[in-house]
């Protein structure tokens, strides 16, 4: 029986583990955090249907309830070395490569180490960490989840401004790519804000609104139609603090060709997705690190769950920004690729 390790208990890793376990393959699932699915349980509701994030996470977690799955939380994998690079002798026993995961040996490894949110401190001109009214989308999500949306003075905000593409589509951040999820997340959060605070104005500043998924465009329309969310095409160039703890932003209203300024209780930076530390380090160790630190699949069309390294498979947001749905599907695909390879 081949030994299989899955690195990362996010949606892709869990779904892959569940499919392999259902096909009688024992797997060991490594997770660096104390709990699986941290990137879902920190959300309130999920686009496009406002499903309760905790419920979705619970359904996913229930899939781990299988004797073929060994879940090892709080276990960070820092070493991932194939025998053909390290040249250790175990390979000669079977003739196929083996993988050293920390100090243990496995025949097959699935990398599902996911993403990390862009660190908004890097866009200093937007004032994150400098002015108390500037937040990331993750902090906004937390306020929504707790039902406690407040400005820096602890009062109910009268105006909230969302800014798209923070750390994505931006040469200055070193990320040319689009993070894919932040557009719809801003629309989702603006709707949540209006649900909780109907009198609060919500503005979304965008470069392009990329409503590519099923139900996304409809959400955008709902945000305008039912919740009165305003959209301004223009990128905020800088934010400054006001004496009363609010934020003044500057942008161009590009559809009018004129500069625009506005003071807001909160400025929410829609941070993009970058390769996680684990993804970067492990992909580099086994020489499949691609652009921007993401793991590179063998071929983006037909072999997207395989890698150039024999016995090493890749799934989910360790390859590129990916939605929950896509990550789950990708984990499933990877599991079938692994089953076929056995």
């Amino acid at each position: 029986m081949k030994k299989i390790a899955i690195l990362g208990a996010g949606p892709a890793g869990i779904e892959a583990a569940a499919v392999l376990a259902a096909n009688n393959c024992p797997v060991t699932l490594f997770e660096k955090e104390a709990q699986p699915l941290c990137n879902i349980t920190d959300k309130a509701f999920l686009f496009p249907n406002f499903a309760d994030a905790n419920e979705v996470a619970a359904s996913l977690r229930a899939k781990l309830d299988n004797p073929n799955i060994t879940l090892r939380c709080s276990t960070e994998v820092t070493q991932l070395t194939p025998s053909y690079i390290a040249g250790f002798q175990e390979e000669s026993l079977t003739g196929t490569p083996v993988w050293k995961v920390n100090e243990e040996l496995y025949d097959i490894v699935l990398l599902a180490t996911g993403y990390t949110p862009f660190d908004a401190h890097r866009k200093e001109e937007l004032g994150y960490g400098i002015y108390p009214g500037v937040h990331t989308s993750l902090e906004m999500e937390k306020m929504i989840k707790e039902g406690n949306i407040v400005n820096s003075l602890g009062e109910k905000p009268k105006r909230i401004v969302f800014l798209q593409c923070v750390g994505s589509r931006d040469e200055k951040s070193g990320n040319h790519y689009c993070s894919k999820l932040c557009c719809v997340t801003a629309v989702k959060q603006a709707i949540e804000v209006k649900k909780q605070l109907p009198d609060c104005e919500a503005y979304v500043f965008y470069m392009d609104l990329r409503m590519w998924g099923q139900g996304f465009e409809e959400m955008y329309r709902t945000a305008q139609q039912e919740y009165g969310v305003s959209f301004v095409r223009g990128r905020i160039s800088e934010a400054g603090g006001t004496f009363d703890g609010r934020v003044q932003i500057k942008a161009e209203d590009t559809l009018l060709g004129r500069p625009l300024k506005m003071t807001s209780d909160l400025l929410v930076l829609m941070v993009g997705m970058e390769a996680s530390k684990g993804t970067r380090e492990l992909a580099t160790q086994c020489r499949i690190c691609g652009e921007y630190g993401f793991a590179q699949s063998k071929d983006p069309h037909l072999h997207d769950c395989q890698s150039e390294a024999p016995g090493l498979f890749v799934a989910g947001a360790c390859k590129r920004p990916m939605t929950l749905t896509d990550s789950v599907n990708d984990g499933r695909s990877a599991a079938y690729e692994i089953l076929t390879s056995l």
């Binding site: 139609q225 305003s230 009018l256 500069p259 625009l260």
Partner: protein, 114 residues
């Protein structure tokens, strides 16, 4: 007085903090579909008046949504002078979001002439 040739430039920036939202809210109330606009410019592209004058219907109602009412007054002879519209209604036919643009112009005129 000697004219030194200096003048004071007024800022071009749209200041949403000093904006008066009352007229805007009245317009949204009268023509709720105003909110659904995505700024595609279809209305301007088809506008009969826009073919012969510099009138820009999209720009006109965008200015209104940014509370720049003075730019829409009928004596400005600008590309957003609402009196250039002939109320033919072609703009409403092409709008992908179903904005009642013709109704919008009628209401804007009514609110600004009040």
């Amino acid at each position: 007085m000697i004219n030194f040739g200096y003048k004071i430039s007024t800022p071009r920036s749209i200041d949403m903090d000093s904006a008066d939202s009352r007229l805007y809210c009245q317009l949204v109330e009268a023509v709720p579909s105003y909110r659904y606009c995505i700024g595609c410019g279809g209305c301007t592209a088809t506008c009969s008046a826009g073919q012969f004058t510099d009138f820009n219907i999209r720009k006109a109602h965008f200015l209104f949504s940014r509370r720049q009412y003075d730019k829409l007054a009928s004596d400005t002879f600008t590309d957003t002078d609402l009196n250039k519209c002939m109320l033919c209604g072609k703009c409403s036919l092409v709008c992908p979001r179903g904005v009642n643009t013709r109704g919008l112009i009628l209401q804007m005129r009514k609110l600004l002439l009040k």
